[in-house]
């Protein structure tokens, strides 16, 4: 198994190629290789593991709507970690804005940027002064 730890924020820091800043992109994807117990859990995990750091706001919005829909359908609950995948309010699916707003407020969510992620300093187009 190649499992990540979403409770270790330092593991999810990358460079923004546009600015050279370090950005926390959240557990995207949380794991590279995982095992689950049931086909239902697999459906939900598949949706979550499609999330990646260089999603556009449109793509992230679609993926989150899939994740929420599958989680409600197969697990019977809203996902508990949505606040980790929302970078700006544009990432929130339009039909779920109110539900997300409540969850984000409860988790003290702060807006971040949508970066152009890279791990390679040589890929940064503008070096920090």
């Amino acid at each position: 198994m190649l499992l990540g730890r979403e409770d270790h924020p330092e593991d999810w820091e990358v460079l923004d190629a546009r600015t050279g800043n370090k950005v926390n992109v959240g557990p995207a994807p949380e794991h590279l290789f995982q095992t689950v117990e049931t086909p239902q859990e697999a459906m939900v995990s598949i949706a979550k593991l499609c999330i990646r750091p260089n999603d556009t706001w449109k793509g992230r919005s679609i993926k989150l709507s899939h994740y929420v829909d599958l989680s409600k359908r197969y697990m019977g609950v809203m996902p508990q970690d949505l606040h980790l995948f929302v970078r700006t309010m544009a990432d929130v699916p339009m039909t779920l804005k109110e539900e997300f707003a409540k969850i984000l407020e409860a988790k003290d969510w702060k807006e971040t940027v949508i970066p152009d992620p890279t791990l390679l300093p040589r890929m940064v187009r503008k070096m920090k002064e």
Partner: protein, 106 residues
Amino acid sequence: MVGEFLKRGYQPAGFMSAMDIGQRIVDPTWQGIDGKGHPDLVLLVGLPYYMESLLLSGLKHFAPDLKTMTLDNLFHPHASWSFPNATLEEWAANLTVMTSKFNGGN
């Protein structure tokens, strides 16, 4: 699985994938789902046998101070405590005896 508990009126304290839990338990700095300290006893029930066996093997090797207990109807050699192989009727009877000792007996 969580949905099934909720339908039957139970409120889980938290939930995550079994592999996630196994990974965190072997980390001695992890303070538990509630943040109140590293667990010292892990109870496993209802996982697919091969998955539970692998989890228990990992916990045995990488968390040797941890006690593990399984409540399934199949014997798990990697667990600290395990039920023996039993029929479903014997298993149900054993679980009923155990739960009758708890408060409420349900």
